[in-house]
Amino acid sequence: MSKSIGLTVNGMLHEVAATSDTPLIYVLRNDLNLKGNRFGCGEGVCGCCTVLLDGHAVQSCSTPLAAAEGKTVTTIEGIGSDAAPHPLQQAFIEEQAGQCGYCLPGFIMGAVALLQRNPAPSDAEIATELDLHLCRCGAYDRIRRAIRRASQQMAETRERMA
């Protein structure tokens, strides 16, 4: 019944013994101990559990394990570390964006996907692209500022490198 399924998470290949219809969120949180992937609604409509699947933002609560088989998953734990945070993580701290913080990893992963496609989004584009994501604490404006700040910093870095 449950064979083991292989998937690459944050650059590491894992074999997990779970049924293929298991929502990815439980595998990431409980088998791989990646707790940054927060459970909100379980219905794909709040954004808390957002991860990247082959670079695209998906909701891990409504992605079955089978859909991730053989693919590359990136979670909040895979984009930066305490010593070298991702520019978005750094910007969220600089803007003090968030209150309870529960929604933040989802927003950040959604923003990672957004900035990959559109490195300089307008405020309206940020809001439209991340419309799925809910923040009950009402930190939306700081979140928007943090995404803008990260986008600028990443542009400066690209310029320096060029």
Binding site: T19, C41, Y102, P105, G138
Partner: protein, 704 residues
């Protein structure tokens, strides 16, 4: 010197401060982090009074064993209560170390200074650190009031916008929430709730669920039904099967959601007069009347309630996001019929908490499941659906206003009538446990009726019913209702939300009826300089001036209150754009919270409070039919979304010489009123029953 109340109740200094290893200091408080940044603000106060770097402070999560018992983290009182206690406790600890150093060095106290935990003697090069002196100082002694906290002019950290201590871990995705606990041998639990409040089981068959993969226990106790499994998805799947294996007998015993205001006003009530001054018998000509209401509102945290519990050798250990670990312990023990000492609760953060939500209920749920698998920790998480439909709601309320202005442009009569049930249903306060599962087990405990005030406190529903304005002739009355057929509890700003909404809308209605400037009318009836200052600050920043040019689609409005008439002052100006829908395009909020411990923390709280109040005011309403709660998803209980949230400009009027006041709830009522007043300014229509949905605004336009 008399000690701050919270310290007087928890006098031992080691309950508050301990010298940690490697140059750190462990600070405990009874208040818990519920998303508001309080723990960082308290760390800032501790670092200030101890004269150590902010980075040296380690805030230890509260538990029922060692932390000071400070009751509940609620009501925007943490900064004033816990902050006041911690300030004094830390000042005493600092003095104790200074005295120990003086003794070792043979110095006088006034020869010594402290900098980042190092005590130096000015004249010589001698110095000692807190950590070197740790064996010289006995912190098990009690606070005695000998030390004085710093004067405003001595503050170096308080008042600075320091970053929050907890944010980096949250942004990095660390496992900081109770949801993230992973204890050895841990199993996963889910509860299957009845479909409606008073549903009774007709048939129940556990065999199918019992046979499912990973299932360790199916629990049925009365109409409390749950399952424990090895893997989380197995518990979820088994709960879904279990839900289909039970049939219920339900009653259509709920009122009509569409006519709640009329329903509330028709309920039997007891009348309590809160204020009766002057002469109300001769209202002047031109009397204005208006009735305002709000529906039941959900906490609607993005993360569901969660708890972990373990039953082992007669003791029960719980990890919970509860705001009230001591009272919750009491009710859990009462439910189980065991001594409170046999239960230990550790606080672990949850998703944002805005009042009495399902956190405490989840703690009991976890305990009931854990008892079936002795020795194994059980992690119990609610579904999102249960979070929306079973958590206590902020109660529906009604306020009827009546008033009149005189020829001199003053308010000659003011009547405020309020209909509300008791708001407080937290654990530990009533004869019977106030925990959901306690009412579902067999034999069930009675659901207690709720209370409206904590012992010695002010009634929750009456918050801000008394206007801060000076009216010669005024009457304020509370029609006290019994419990409602919908489960209720405290929600951010409690009664102040609707009382302030009504007062501040009505000020504009009176101003409009007499062709007066709404801001001017407010200022004319205020003598409190701090109130006047926030109103003027918000008005000036926003450009809310009489005779400003209008473009026909935009409107501006103001709302003001001093929360609870004793906490922070807040004036909010909203600007709306009325097209196909109503968009709030700009919000300016001016607040005065006395000494602002952390101005950026204050701004963050105010911004969040404004956005949440916008959501309450424009979108939210718990839906139900005559039998069941129908708000069970983000579709049926929409909240404000990213694209709808405006930028909030916050002006913090710092008053370093005034006591710090709680700020979390201050902007709620003023925001709702500012939006309603702005809608009126733009369109000339007024929606008095919240939420101000596009449909309701349209209906009001058609009534014109």
């Amino acid at each position: 010197m008399t000690l701050p109340p919270s310290l007087a109740n928890n006098r031992r200094l080691d309950r508050w401060v301990a010298i940690g290893p490697n140059g750190t200091l462990d600070v405990r408080t009874g208040k818990v982090e519920i998303g508001q940044g309080i723990v960082s603000a308290l760390a800032q106060i501790a670092a200030e009074e101890l004269d150590v770097d902010y980075a040296r402070i380690r805030m230890i999560a509260a538990d029922t064993v060692r932390s000071p018992n400070e009751g509940v983290t609620a009501g925007s009182t943490s900064t004033s209560q816990s902050g006041g206690a911690l300030r004094q406790a830390c000042a005493e600890v600092r003095l104790a170390f200074l005295e120990a150093a003086a003794q070792r060095l043979g110095a006088n106290l006034d020869e010594l200074t402290v900098r980042d935990g190092t005590i130096s003697r000015r004249a010589s090069n001698e110095s000692l650190t807190y950590w070197e002196l740790r064996d010289d100082v006995d912190l098990t002694r009690e606070a005695d009031g000998r030390a004085s906290p710093k004067r405003p002019d001595q503050l170096t950290l308080v008042g600075k916008p320091l970053p929050r201590l907890d944010l980096p871990d949250k942004v990095m995705g660390k496992g900081v929430y109770v949801h993230d606990l992973d204890l050895p041998g841990m199993l996963h639990g889910r509860v299957v709730r009845p479909p409606s409040y008073r549903a009774e089981i007709e048939t129940f068959d556990a065999t199918k669920a019992q046979a499912m993969p990973g299932v360790r226990a199916v629990v049925r106790n009365g109409r409390f039904i749950g399952v424990v499994a090895g893997r989380e998805e197995q518990a979820v799947a088994a709960a879904a099967v279990l839900a289909k294996s039970v049939t219920w007998r339900e009653a259509a015993d709920l009122p009509d959601v569409e006519t709640m205001p009329e329903y509330l006003r028709a309920l039997p009530s007891r009348t309590q007069v809160l204020s009766e001054t002057g002469d109300m018998t001769h209202p002047s000509a031109g009397t204005v009347q208006a009735v305002y209401s709000r529906p039941f509102l959900a906490h609607a945290s993005v993360g569901p309630p969660c708890a972990v519990a373990r039953a082992r050798d007669g003791t029960i250990e719980v990890w919970s996001q509860s705001q009230s670990i001591h009272p919750t312990r009491k009710d859990i023990a009462a439910t189980l019929g065991i001594a409170p000492d046999a239960v230990v609760i550790h606080h672990v953060q949850g998703a944002g908490c805005y009042g009495h939500n399902g956190a405490d209920d989840a703690a009991l749920d976890a305990v009931l499941l854990a008892r079936e698998v002795e020795g194994h920790p059980v992690r119990l998480q609610w579904s999102h659906e249960d979070n929306l439909s079973w958590s206590p709601y902020g109660p529906a309320m009604v306020v009827a206003m009546e008033g009149a202005t005189d020829e001199s442009g003053r308010i000659a009569a003011w009547r405020h009538e309020l209909w509300s049930n008791p708001h407080i249903a937290r654990p530990g306060l009533q004869d019977s446990p106030s925990l959901l599962a306690a009412w579902h087990i067999d034999p069930p405990f009675a659901q207690p009726p709720g209370i409206d005030a904590l012992p010695g406190g002010k009634p929750a529903s009456q918050r801000n019913a008394l206007p801060l304005y000076n009216f010669v002739n005024q009457s304020v009355v509370h029609h006290v209702l019994d419990r409602l057929p919908i489960r209720t509890g405290t929600l951010r700003a409690i009664g102040a939300f609707l009382n302030t909404f009504a007062i501040e809308c009505f000020m504009d209605e009176l101003a409009n009826s007499a062709s007066l400037d709404p801001v001017e009318l407010r200022l004319r009836h205020l003598s409190d300089a701090r109130a006047i200052a926030v109103i003027k600050a918000a008005r000036d920043r926003a450009g809310l001036h009489a005779g400003r040019v209008r473009d026909g689609s935009r409107g501006m409005g103001i709302g003001f209150a001093r929360y609870s008439n004793e906490a922070s002052y807040a004036a909010v100006v909203a600007e709306v754009e009325a097209g196909e829908t109503i968009r709030v395009v700009r919000v300016v909020a001016a607040v005065d919270c006395g000494r602002a411990i952390n101005p950026d923390g204050v701004a963050n709280q105010v911004e969040g409070g404004v956005v949440q109040a916008m959501s309450f005011a424009m979108k939210e309403m718990v839906q139900f039919d005559r039998t069941r709660i129908a708000s069970r998803s983000w579709d049926t209980y929409p909240i404000l979304r990213f694209g709808e949230a405006p930028a909030v400009e916050t002006i913090v009027i710092d008053r370093p010489d005034q006591p710090s006041l709680g700020v979390g709830e201050a902007a709620a009522g003023p925001t709702a009123a500012a939006i309603a007043n702005a809608v009126f300014d733009a369109l000339g229509v007024r929606v008095r029953d919240l939420p101000m949905t596009p449909d309701r605004v349209l209906a009001a336009i058609h009534r014109l």
